[in-house]
């Protein structure tokens, strides 16, 4: 092999090896979820079955956990978008004196690790008698998602031309109608990006509900799955894998969906919350 072909093939070999290493842990969870006799090691299921999935989905406890997860994540995403669009409007349209410090505070908050505030948040929840409240947990998640939401929505709103609004004012529309009927529809890609990102972050969040929710019957899916493999010591691998696959699906689907909106370029803007 001469030097030229070597230079061409080495990257392919290296990439394939990295790809294989990345694929292995994932393959296991997928194979095990379809395997009636799933074991710890990766193996081709001798018998493909959907029994694991039906077992997970027929258990009302799991369904409840998914619904609670949906409540937290959908509620958070909706509120972040509504509150965020409202906040973005004056920040984008008016020359406010405090705009600069406010925006920098927002940007600063997008990159703070949420983990660091969980102990005082817990104390705050105790003090306000909010521990174990799903609504309060959802509001805290909303606040933690707002800095990113406001930052992104303000940038998206800046891209909506002011002239369109002005012509609507001439036609007698109020600011409020303008925001709802002119600005918001033009920001749909931005709104979807923020909503999808917020939803995925909160859907995958384990720490926040784990700290703030005490009753097992209020646990979202992320905490339920932890209880599953914490308590039962990974005995029923197939079921656990099926739960994982179902739980991961919304994140995957939304990611694929978001590609449509995010294709305009990858933004740094505060993609930090984990």
């Amino acid at each position: 092999m001469n030097r030229y072909t070597l230079e061409k093939t080495v990257p392919y070999i290296v990439l394939s090896m990295i790809g294989a290493l990345f694929l292995l842990p994932l393959l296991w969870v997928i194979f095990a979820s379809f395997d009636a006799n799933a074991k710890q090691a990766l193996s081709m299921p001798s018998l493909f079955t959907l029994r694991n999935f039906s077992a997970i989905l027929s258990d009302p406890t799991n369904i409840r956990a998914f619904i609670i997860g949906l409540f937290l994540s959908l509620g958070q995403a909706t509120l972040v978008v509504i509150v965020g669009v409202l906040a973005a409007y004056p920040l984008s349209r008016y020359a406010l004196k405090y705009k600069k410090p406010f925006m920098f505070t927002i940007l600063f908050m997008t990159s703070l690790p949420i983990t660091a505030v969980m102990v005082p948040v817990y104390q705050l929840f105790m003090f306000l008698n909010l521990q174990d409240s799903l609504v309060a947990t959802m509001l805290f998640l909303t606040a933690s998602g707002l800095p990113y939401g406001i930052w992104m929505l303000k940038n998206f709103m800046d891209a909506v031309p002011l002239e369109l609004e002005e012509s609507a004012w001439v036609d007698g529309a109020s600011i409020w109608t303008c925001l709802r009927k002119v600005v918001a529809p033009l920001m749909i890609p931005g709104i979807c990006t923020v909503a999808i990102f917020t939803f995925s972050m909160s859907w995958g969040n384990f720490f926040v509900p784990y700290i703030l929710i005490q009753s097992p019957d209020k646990f979202p899916a992320s905490v339920t799955i932890y209880q599953f493999f914490g308590t039962y010591g990974m005995v029923e691998y197939g079921k656990l894998a099926a739960f994982s696959v179902i739980y991961t699906m919304p994140a995957v689907i939304l990611y694929l969906f978001s590609q449509k909106f995010m294709s305009k370029g990858f933004s740094f803007g505060g993609a930090t919350k984990g």
Binding site: L23, P25, V29, L107, T115, L146, F229, Y255, T272
Partner: protein
């Protein structure tokens, strides 16, 4: 102030009110509370739960004398270095660099595999890796097949294990960032350097790296901040153990506050975490050079 600008002010306050309300109560409030509670002896149970006292710098004195705290700091630094800076950042760059100008289908397949680890929720990532590294897991099965003895990965190399899982989970982010910034490197400059007889490595270190330096710095800070906050992955994989082997600051904070019931002490630790985060965030904003 004339009447129209007053209307604007009132209107903008109305629009901003909901976000201020939420941010003040649930974000800025807890940050201020961190400063306050870290100087108290607040406990989760017992007498100190009812009547906490102001104890001055006691928590911080305890903290700096606590061998466990020092271990946590070391573990956090190791975790950051190995998984964020060397792992995610370097591997992300390598992936993006190698994938440049490769066959589109091949590129896409590798990209999807790496991104799959990123999209997977942290708790599922933990589960996948516990299974993969377990005594009877896939990795040991492969090692057995090669005729060698298996290793109890999570006990023998716990820190390496959680680092690898974190690399698996986070690398896609760096890869995407670097793919975007490598696309901005003008092809003509590269061609010209090649014509002048520059080697591949020279082109990489003398040409490409200086051009994308900005995104390397920004990405490094972001990845460090993300990794600093990692709790779920380590907690679910090793619980911080065995012993204190994987007890990073977030795990140490959790253990003190919720396992040992010392909320005041736990808050003092979160203040340290928060201050590291604040410094990194300020660097992040400076590196962004944003216009508001």
């Amino acid at each position: 102030m004339n009447s129209s600008s007053r209307t604007l002010t009132i209107r903008s306050i109305f629009f901003l009110l909901p976000s201020w309300f939420l941010l003040l109560i649930f974000f800025i409030g807890p940050i201020l509370l961190t400063f306050y509670f870290s100087f108290t002896n607040l406990a989760l149970t017992g007498a100190q739960a009812q009547q906490m006292q102001f104890v001055g710098f006691d928590n911080f004195v305890t903290m700096f004398q606590d061998a466990n705290f020092r271990i946590s700091v070391v573990k956090t630094i190791l975790f950051l270095l190995l998984s964020a800076i060397i792992g995610q950042q370097l591997l992300g760059f390598l992936l993006a660099f190698l994938m440049k100008e490769k066959n589109t289908t091949f590129r896409r397949i590798i990209g999807i595999i790496v991104i799959a680890g990123w999209v997977t929720p942290e708790i599922v990532v933990a589960f996948c890796w516990v299974a993969f590294l377990n005594d009877n897991g896939t990795l040991n099965a492969i090692i057995h097949a090669l005729g060698m003895d298996g290793v109890t990965w999570l006990y023998t190399f716990p820190l390496i294990s959680v680092c690898i899982a974190n690399i698996w989970h986070g690398t896609a982010f760096s890869m995407l960032v670097f793919q975007a910034s490598l696309d901005d490197v003008p092809k003509s400059i590269e061609e010209a350097a090649k014509m002048d007889g520059a080697s591949k490595l020279q082109i990489l270190f003398r040409l490409i790296v200086p051009i994308v330096k900005g995104s390397i710095v920004t990405n490094m800070i972001l990845v460090t901040l993300q990794t600093l906050g990692v709790f779920t992955l380590i907690y679910a994989m090793t619980g911080g153990g065995p012993g204190t082997a994987t007890q990073t600051l977030p795990i140490f904070m959790y253990n003190q506050a919720f396992v040992n019931y010392q909320l005041g002490y736990g808050t003092a630790i979160s203040l340290v975490l928060l201050l590291i985060g604040v410094v990194a965030s300020l660097f992040y904003i400076r590196s962004m050079k944003v216009q508001v």
